[in-house]
């Protein structure tokens, strides 16, 4: 194992895929000489040239739509929408075009493209630069959505996404780019993490916690604490929220009888409610407590750190939520 920055794991994924497949190109704001907003594509413009590492104007609808056109005509574009919030600007292209063309055309054409975007609470980025819109994008049939929680999954999921024949939105976390994680050594067999597969990162028999992105890491710390008290918390990293790996969640809940869903998105009409209800018929008689959730409250993300910290599902809030259910 080696220790790498998350941003470098992302870069490795893109670099390896561009080297492997000449139809792969990158476009988006700051993706050229700047090397990515978070330096996650540093050096690739120099390596692959301007046509393959394309800086776009600030035209999210335009360049996402262009990516659809590229995907229909033999390319595998990897577009970057800097902040999750900006996907809303490009929503017609994402939801009406990218997601639906395959079905609308009667399955004639794949739309093999990747849309990278970012989330991440805790940076005082306020209401238009902090939203977790996973629930919004996950709502549309035809999209696949990967949400890595560390460098290994960021790399493995992105590589899989680029090779996938359907549109995949990869939701990275801004807090992770400058953080170091463990990654298999270079030269080892490349890891392609399948879409639609969740991972049990910590086993336990008393309660299941399901989450994605940064809260997964928070949940792991809380689970380690509970373990000292002899309480087994099973932590599941969704890795993909669409397709949703219901089987892994169901298997765990059948074991523990208790499910807490943790998400940084808004509480109401979010992915937690969806997961809970989608597994309910399978786990109803296994439940020993109501399924509970811990999300951001239904409020636009506030700016002041004093306020923003109140909405983050942190260790204390997760611990409290677990205690309430045990």
């Amino acid at each position: 194992m080696r220790t790498v920055y998350y941003r470098d794991a992302v870069r490795e994924a893109i670099d390896e895929e561009m080297a492997r497949d000449p139809s792969v190109l990158v476009l988006g704001e700051d993706m050229g000489p700047n090397g990515g907003t978070w330096k996650e594509t540093r050096g690739l413009w120099e390596k692959y040239g301007d046509l393959r590492m394309k800086d776009t104007p600030i035209s999210e609808s335009g360049f996402v739509g262009m990516s659809v056109g590229m995907a229909l005509t033999g390319l595998r574009p990897v577009a970057k929408v800097m902040f999750s919030d900006f996907m809303l600007v490009a929503m017609d292209q994402i939801a009406n075009q990218m997601a639906k063309i395959t079905y609308m055309s009667g399955g004639q054409m794949p739309v093999p493209m990747v849309l990278r975007t970012t989330i991440g609470l805790g940076r005082s980025s306020a209401a238009q630069h902090s939203q977790n819109l996973n629930a919004v994008i996950a709502h549309f049939p035809g999209l696949k959505i990967a949400v890595p929680s560390n460098a290994r999954t960021a790399k493995g999921l992105l590589k899989t996404a680029i090779r996938d024949n359907d549109p995949v939105i990869v939701v990275e976390n801004r807090l992770h780019y400058g953080r170091q994680f463990e990654l298999p050594d270079e030269g080892e067999e490349e890891e392609l993490i399948p879409l639609g597969k969740a991972a049990v990162l910590h086993e336990g028999a008393d309660l299941t916690v399901v989450s994605c992105s940064e809260p997964v890491n928070t949940c792991l710390r809380v689970a380690a604490e509970f373990e000292k008290d002899g309480i087994g918390i099973e932590v599941i990293d969704l890795q993909s929220i669409r397709p949703l790996d219901r089987e892994t969640i169901i298997r765990s809940v059948k074991k523990t009888g208790r499910l807490l869903l943790v998400d940084e998105g808004y509480t109401s009409f979010g992915i937690t409610g969806e997961i809970a209800l989608s597994i309910m018929p399978d786990v109803f008689y296994d439940l020993d407590a109501p399924i509970m959730r811990l999300c951001s409250p239904d409020v636009p993300v506030p700016f002041s750190p004093a306020l923003e910290k109140l909405i983050i599902p942190d260790e204390n809030r997760i611990r409290e939520a677990i205690r309430k259910m045990l």
Binding site: G230, I231, G257, D288, M325
Partner: protein, 442 residues
């Protein structure tokens, strides 16, 4: 139509009882008057007899579970009858559900009320879906569950409230671990995988250096009640011992004479009861009991006799021996002792003693010390009759050695209540009565 057996209310203040043991398994037949199960109240362990003949169709309570009084614990009926149906109609009947067991001091009125209460509770019981499924799978009675204090979300009853973890349950039989003997370390004492593993490891460790366990039985029920009573006695009561050796030549001759006459039969035990009673009458200071800060001296002379029963030591008591003839006593013990051996005594038949005789003569033992059975003040240990050389002073004043059938007796006395002199006099009196047994017939 079968009968629903309920947890009897055995004491005025009792509102729940722990089911200690079933004497009958599902499918076995049970006869009226036969011991059916054993219940521990907050005060004592009580055997409960069946009041109907029938087949045990269903047992609804596991040994070791606390059950509110009046809740169904078993169904007795004819083979082929549906226990669920009987249960339903039995519950509907309410008070009549108690008919299948003899339940001392049961109050039928409150029984009906309680049955109605738990009926209503059935519907409103807050229980998780998982717990409900478990209850259904295990065919647990919801009324039984209704009494459980839930530890789940907002006080709901969860699966762990009624069982060990699934993994623990699954592993236990494979590892030879008895879950009832395992202390849970999980939340609210839930038995978890780790607990089962620990129990299995402890058992394995115990087995190691040349120490093999043949059997492991839980320390509970009658044995535990007796055990706690004895250790309490040994801790609290300053025991003083007084022994003597009795020539039983005339005693056995008298016994043979009576038995040969054939009007009734007596045993050595009967003669010992009479001897003890007569000695107590002469030395009433022995017929006492320490009750808190008061010493009671009894008018009644109630002699208990230690009997080895099915589930451990049991002490049937012959009451008011001072008013009874040997013949009456013999008749009483002939009825009482076999039932004691089978564990079929009612609580009043083994309580209320003022003095105990423990006769191990039939075992051939030379001598032993007994532990005082509180709150009594003394117990007489009686050993085997053995032929021994004894120095006898003849009428001519000459000492000579004779072979005599000798028997050791040893009094254990509560030295707080009984002084040494009194105890010695009492023992001597017993010896005198046994060596001149015609006195017993006076």
């Amino acid at each position: 139509m079968g009968k629903v057996v309920i947890m009897p209310k055995l004491g005025y203040t009792q509102d729940e009882g722990e089911l200690i043991e079933w004497y009958k398994a599902e499918g076995e037949t049970v006869r009226k008057g036969e011991a059916f199960f054993e219940v521990q109240t907050d005060k004592t362990v009580i055997r409960v007899d069946a009041t109907e003949d029938g087949t045990v169709l269903k047992l609804l309570a596991e040994p070791g579970t606390m059950m509110p009084v009046f809740t169904p614990i078993a169904v007795v009926g004819q083979p082929g009858e549906n226990p669920e149906e009987i249960l339903r109609s039995g519950q509907a009947e309410g008070a009549s559900a108690s008919a299948a067991v003899s339940a001392p001091s049961t109050e039928p009125g409150s029984s009906a009320a309680a049955a109605e209460d738990s009926e209503a509770e059935d519907k409103t019981i807050r229980m998780t879906p998982r717990a409900r499924r478990f209850a259904a799978e295990q065919q647990l009675d919801l009324k039984e569950i209704a009494g459980i204090k839930g530890t789940g979300y907002e006080g709901g009853i969860t699966e762990r409230d009624i069982k060990a973890s699934p993994l623990a349950r699954k592993m236990a039989p494979d590892l030879g671990v008895d879950l009832r003997a395992v202390q849970g370390s999980g939340v609210q004492g839930k038995i978890r995988k780790a607990d089962v593993l620990r129990a299995a490891a402890a058992a394995a460790a115990q087995e190691k250096p040349g120490l093999r366990i043949a059997e492991e039985t839980p320390y509970r029920g009658t044995r535990r009640v007796i055990g706690e009573r004895l250790s309490g006695s040994k801790r609290e009561v300053p025991h003083a011992y007084f022994s003597d050796s009795v020539d039983t030549g005339k005693l056995t001759a008298l016994r043979s004479l009576i038995n040969e006459e054939g009007e009734y039969r007596v045993s050595i035990s009967d003669l010992l009861i009479v001897a003890a009673a007569k000695a107590l009458r002469r030395y009433p200071g022995m017929n006492v009991s320490l009750q808190g800060d008061r010493i009671l001296r009894y008018e009644s002379i109630n002699i208990g006799t230690a009997v080895a029963g099915k589930a451990g030591l049991i002490v049937p008591v012959v009451k008011n021996v001072q008013d009874k003839t040997l013949r009456q006593i013999a008749a009483e013990t002939r009825e009482l002792f076999p039932r004691a051996q089978k564990g079929q005594l009612r609580p009043e038949e083994y309580s209320g003693g003022t003095f105990t005789v423990s006769n191990l003569g039939m075992t051939g033992i030379e001598d032993f010390c007994a532990i005082v059975n509180p709150p009594e003040a003394g117990i007489l240990a009686v050993s085997a009759i053995r032929k021994k050389p004894v120095v006898v002073t003849g009428e001519d004043g000459e000492d000579r050695i004779e072979i005599r059938p000798m028997m050791n007796i040893r009094l254990s006395a509560d030295h707080r209540l009984v002084d040494g002199l009194l105890a010695a006099q009492f023992v001597h009196e017993i010896r005198r009565l046994l060596e001149e047994p015609t006195l017993l017939l006076l």
